[in-house]
């Protein structure tokens, strides 16, 4: 696993991928920090939370090639014919992408140092946001790797990852819409208003339960909840395991 991790991590910097991701992150976070700084009040947790919306672009860039590229190059043979476990290949690639995220995040650490040096305070809410950032990165990278496994084409992988991560961003909004549609349909069926509004809330809540952003909202105020982190980790493991099973299945496929 470590061999795969090392190779993949270094390969980010042998190709433009690592630099592009780093450049985007550095630029946006730097600009963000500069704007806050020039206004006189910097909230590190606000900065981190707004950076999370970058996942939607950066994660597909990082992960789109992780397996699709191997298939194109013919190097995936190595994973199947070497005495290593396929799951450790998936995990190795996952951690290499996480490591790249960590490298990008050094920017924010520097901002934290600047804030402290200027007499500001990096409170528990900021650290809570850091924690959330990495747990969410884990969730989205595992989705990106899954997208890379299911398609031979990097572009399609990137689009699939983009869409799934976008969906994650929109769970609450989608929940509202579907809840509204349900209540509209119910009103045509002549169901009374109380039941309608109950159903609407229930549907909206059920769907927005999946929203990782909502789940981790209180972290920025220093209120941590294990369930939110377990949610991210378990979904990350789920997608990694799914990727592993798909890779396993390819060997048996009859196409």
């Amino acid at each position: 696993m470590f061999a795969i991790f090392k190779r993949e991590f270094l390969s980010y910097f042998r190709t433009p991928v690592g630099y592009v991701a780093l450049a985007i992150f550095t630029f946006i976070s730097g600009f963000n920090f500069y704007t806050l700084f020039s206004e006189g009040t910097v909230s590190i947790s606000d900065e981190i939370n707004s950076l999370r919306s970058l996942f939607i672009i950066i994660v597909p860039i990082i992960t789109m090639g992780s397996f699709a590229e191997d298939r194109k190059r013919g190097t995936e043979v190595l994973y199947y014919t070497s005495p290593i476990d396929l799951f450790s290949v998936v995990v190795g690639k996952f951690f290499s992408a996480m490591a790249l995220c960590f490298v990008m995040f050094i920017n924010v650490f520097i901002h934290m140092i600047v804030v402290s040096a200027c007499g500001g305070r990096v409170g528990i809410g900021a650290w809570g946001s850091v924690l959330v950032f990495f747990f969410m990165a884990a969730l989205f990278i595992s989705i990106g790797i899954f997208a890379s496994v299911i398609s031979d084409n990097q572009i399609i992988s990137a689009i699939v990852a983009f869409l799934i991560i976008l969906l994650n961003n929109l769970f609450s909004v989608i929940g509202e819409y579907i809840g509204f549609s349900v209540s509209t349909i119910m009103s045509y069926m002549g169901i009374n208003a109380t039941a309608r509004s109950n159903a609407k809330t229930a549907v909206a809540n059920a769907i927005s339960w999946f929203d990782p952003f909502e789940k981790t909202y209180e972290f920025r105020n220093g209120i941590f909840s294990a369930s939110a982190l377990i949610y991210c980790v378990s979904f990350a493991i789920f997608f990694l395991y799914l990727s592993f099973r798909i890779l396993e299945k390819k060997r048996w496929s009859q196409k």
Partner: protein, 313 residues
């Protein structure tokens, strides 16, 4: 030792392999021969664990490739049709990565890589990016990759394809050297190549084994030349008529009947040098100079034909 029993592989409706069984003994070079699409690569992919067979078993030194994959895969070095190279790494980085994958202890890596690179003749390019190497070098890096971890079994899928003649000779020599302490399966669709390096030959055709033969038997089959090609100055029809009178000649086909005639002569199998002598004197006597006279080597296809139809046995 590799034991392959009853391998069957279906791709949807297409049956790529229809029950293949053979064994490779220790320190033997087995040539795996067949036209494109015969199932060579599929078989090799199954032996190495890249693909799974629909049914049948593969045992590598007693370990089943599906039941004890780690033990079985440890013993195999595999060069697929397309060498699995990371073009963004240098040769040295790549081989170090392969050492890590195959579990070569850290202390031995440097020496191990040095041995392998000098063996395949890439020690001069170890610092270069694989993507910048020529095709021949890439192929050799592919072979080096298969040798990492010193596996006793090597499976090489068309190792000489796309190389220039000098490189082909180099690779053949390398395979011969390696065969002293490795069991090797080499696939090719070039007959002469297999003939040169292999001890035994498996011929595969339409997913079935058409013949398992020692190289000696195969070459004997080859040396039984039954077809000759002759071009000459003279009337083709008359030449053909006279040729047919020579005992041992069963058929004469006129290929060209212009001012330069050309005929294809089929002889009965027993006929040897005498027929050619007889033809020469007949032509000389009639005053028709022979311009070209050569045996038509049977192509791989013809050998298949003769094997599959039972002729020429």
């Amino acid at each position: 030792m590799i034991e392959i029993k009853n391998l069957v592989k279906h791709y949807g409706d297409k049956k790529a392999l229809k029950g293949i069984s053979f064994t490779v003994k220790d320190n033997e070079v087995l040539g795996f021969l067949g036209p494109n699409g015969a199932g060579k690569s599929t078989t090799m992919n199954i032996i190495t664990g890249y693909l799974s067979s629909t049914s049948g078993t593969v045992k590598i030194n007693g370990h089943d490739i599906l039941e004890q994959p780690d033990l079985a895969k440890k013993d195999i070095g595999y060069l697929p049709e397309q060498p699995p190279l990371y073009l963004d790494m240098t040769v040295n980085e790549y081989l170090t990565f392969m050492c890590e994958l195959k579990g070569v202890p850290k202390k031995e890596r440097k020496e191990h890589i040095a041995t392998i690179t000098s063996l395949v003749g890439i020690d001069a390019v170890t610092g270069r990016l694989i993507g910048n190497l020529s095709k021949g070098y890439k192929q050799r890096v592919g072979i080096a990759q298969a040798l990492v971890g010193d596996p006793p079994i090597l499976i090489l899928d068309e190792p000489t394809v796309g190389l220039d003649p000098n490189q082909i000779i180099g690779i053949r020599k390398l395979i011969k050297d390696l065969s002293k302490n490795h069991s090797i399966i080499v696939s090719s669709h070039i007959l002469s190549e297999i003939q040169e390096i292999a001890d035994r030959v498996v011929i595969i055709h339409h997913g079935k084994i058409a013949a398992v033969d020692t190289v000696k038997d195969l070459s004997q089959r080859l040396s039984n030349v039954t077809n000759l090609l002759m071009s000459f100055k003279g009337p083709a029809k008359d030449v053909a008529a006279r040729l047919k009178m020579i005992p041992g000649i069963t058929d004469v086909n006129i290929r060209n009947s212009g001012s330069f005639g050309e005929v294809e002569i089929t002889t009965s199998k027993q006929a040897g040098d005498e027929i050619r002598t007889a033809i020469f004197f007949m032509m000389a006597k009639a005053g028709w100079p022979i311009l070209e006279f050569r045996s038509l080597d049977p192509t791989l296809e013809e050998i298949f034909l003769s094997i599959t139809t039972g002729k020429g046995e």
